[in-house]
Amino acid sequence: MISDFRQALRLLVKNPGFSALVVAVLALGIGANTAIFSIVDGVLLKPLPFADARRLVAIDTTVRNEPDDTAYLDFLDWRSQATTIDRMAAYSTAAVTLTGRGEAASIPTAVVTADLFPLLGVRPIQGRVLTPADDARGATRTAVISETLWAQRFSRDPSMVGRPAVVDGDPIVIVGVMPARFEFPFDAENPPQIWMPIMASRFSAQWAGQRGASFLKAIGHLRSGAQLPSVQAEMSAVAARVNAANPQEGRSARGVLIRPFQDMLVRSYRLALVVLLCAVSAVLLIACANIANLLLARGTVRRREIAVRTALGASRGQIVRQLMSESLVLAAVGGVGGTLLAWWGVDALVRVSPLQIPRLHTVHIDRSVLAFTVLATMVTGVLCGMVPAIQLSRANPGDALKDGDRGGSGACGGRTRQVLVVAEVALSLVLLVSAGLLLRSFVQLQRVSPGFVTERAVTMQILLPQTRYPNQAAFIRFYRRLQAGVRALPGVTASAVSTTLPMTGSDIGMGFRVEGRPVDPNVRTSAAFFGVSPDYFRTMGIPIVEGRGFTERDDERAPGVIVINETMAARTWPGENPIGKAVIVSYNDTPPRTIVGIVADVKQGGLTDRRQPQMYTPFVQAPWPFLATVVRTTAAPQSAAGSLRQALARLDPEQAAGEIRTLDEYVARSMATPRFTAILIGAFAGLALLLAGFGLYGVMAYSVAQRRREIGIRMALGAREADVRSLVAGQALRMGAAGVTIGLAGALLVTRILDSLLFGVTAGDPATFAGVSAVLMTVLIVAAYLPARRATRLDPIVALRAD
């Protein structure tokens, strides 16, 4: 065995060009697989870093079968009634303003129930975690902070534990510090730094008393032995009981959904990652087919050697073992190279990945990834070596050994080689079609208008703490001063304020009903709701389609007015003119508002959003404690951000700025996942294209060498160069066409699973299929051209003498 490997190694050293090529292809293939697998493993497969992670479930309220947030009172009922779930916790995210030490800062925060900590099995590095006593209404406000915050704001001062800090203007006692690796809920961009009880936040404490206020997510820990279906059944029963006990409007449509927590966490990325893993394995398969082909070609030359070995007493098993050890050595060297490539590549890959993917920053090459690499390497070695080994060991030694009949019937494995190339071409086509579809989706996506103008627009989000801004009058006062302050900034050409901005990830949904129409309890009439300043539509570049926008006269004392978008107009008043009609918005029981205008639709969540009803009222007629300002500026985004921050500090030095970003950044972020998949799968498809072209070239070059005699005969019989060329090219094109045909059929089946990743293009898009086939055929023609040309350069006498 050892001597097999030694001889294999020597053979590789003796053919440095061949070996380097094979090793490079394998290193690339194995490296890419390792890198992608490390992400799949880190994000999808690795259990969450909590005790008993496999038993964690997400418990969501559903409204008409769509997962939604949960009300605190519902959560309390669930928790007290569930028996299959032994622990249950609720959480929500927010931002708070931390003042007192250094400048005011907006800190990402989670409000949680105290059960969360034992449920996740996490321990503090200082002090204690929250306890049920902290959850009680009226208890001393407490909080647990992150190690990062502890280090940044409190210089790791252990005496901070047990002392109060000022959060949103309220003193809150910091009772513990969580280790840096503790991350919950997962948010790569704004990881929570403070965890506090629901009652410690004035907002959530207020909502916690209303069964209609859905603002929490729930997580549970299954009782040991509990199976998901029985848990789901029990929780559905519990939810039905809770509904029956609270007969309120619309509750009948509510249910509950239990999902493994990790599944829920990664659901938006699972398909994309799995598709990428499939694509990259396909690339490796194509590489294997290529290398098997190369080995077969070389093996044909070695038929004599193998026959001699057989004649000297080698059994078939020993021959197979020797040939396999060669491909295993190749694969092993490739595997080492691939690991090195992946080591470097994973960082690069993580950098281009969408930030929102949970746990992405924890991705690295660890033992399980290396185990995968070793496995992939071994499988690669076997795949590359198996076909040649079986083919070559099958040959009858007698034929190859008879002197005089040397290399006569040397067409060993010719059919196998053609089958391999056809398979390669087919697989490449599937990959190319997938890439083509994803790239087209991405291009389509970029063409989609978000419904507003993104250029040179900088935004700042602000959350007003209730301690200093206790009521609507205070909100309005702040809003007026903010508008004035921002408008005066140098370089600002237009500015506006809105409660939420599109694509920032936040939105307010609000129920409404039409004045004078009966209410159908089974139809959910709600729309995205914005309180905006009068110049909002102009500043954002949202066209007013009909009627008017708002003016300064639409103030808090004026009659309520509302502007709706085209979708809402078309859905709620099909065939009617909604202007002049009145809508009752469920906002603090305010009186009906008259529709004064219709504006174009805006993509609120992301470019792939479907049409969605939207309604706007003047901010002053529906003030909220959170607001965002957007400015069009001639200044660079960086300096504009600085001046926004300064303007805010002049207004209220205690007030922290939230996120400051350009609208372009928000739009780009909403495209991060499609871009990521499109770029990667495009790269893989390119690699596959290259490999398939190379594979066909190899087979054709070899076939020309094999057919030297035939070509010689033909030339002796008077074949012209063109005849020989078309002979060779014809063979290549037949293989290419067979591969493309099989590939097209395969692609039709495979691309269906891509459906949910596609946008503006169907999975069976004929243009993509045709275009990709054309590209592939072109590459194949180029790959066949060189051997075909070489065939015509053959000297017939040399070819005939080779016999």
């Binding site: 035939e710 005969i713 033909r714 002796a716 019989l717 008077g718 012209r720 005849d723 016999d803």
Partner: protein, 236 residues
Amino acid sequence: MAENGQALIKLDGVTKVFFTDEVETHALSGIHLLINKGEYVSIAGPSGCGKSTLLSILGLLDSPTEGQYHLNNRPVAELAASERARVRNREIGFIFQSFNLIGDLTVFENVELPLTYRGMKAAERRQRVEAALERVGMAHRAKHLPSQLSGGQQQRVAVARAVAGEPLILLADEPTGNLDSRSGEAVMDLLRELHQSGATICMVTHDPRYARHADRSIHVFDGRVVEEQTEMAVTE
């Protein structure tokens, strides 16, 4: 078209030198040769004497390093590659030791091949191929693949292929070399029949029994013509 007795092939001082690893090998040195229309000439000599090289030059598969080669009164030295292909196709018929049929093509297609390269019409091709196969007694095997035939049968097909295009001369390189004695005799009989019906034949062989079939025997040794024996009373 040359009349019987007219010079079909004329070599003047043909020399072929191979250069390998700074060593010059003289495969042929100053060969003079005249083959008349209607003649049956055999070239004999030990292996490595240059007889195969000579045949390759005659067949325009190779070019001499020095000297003149006139085929049918035309110097072939200046012909372009495509023109040489045309000459091989129309004026020369090859018969090889190892038959050199193309394994993927049927008997019919093999014989048809040189005609295809002429751009001949399908109907005429069919007629010619059938006539040629009839002549060698292989018409009933037209649809078989070479691998389904014995060596002797394969060589008959190769002869049919060589004559189907009605070339000026047949060049045969050890046509019996890969055959058992009975099949060898049969192929030699076939060649004699062709000769009797007017074909010009030039055959390389090392078997003295077969060399005797020819009108004239040329012995080559170390790249030179050392001896000419005339079976019949035809002298230069």
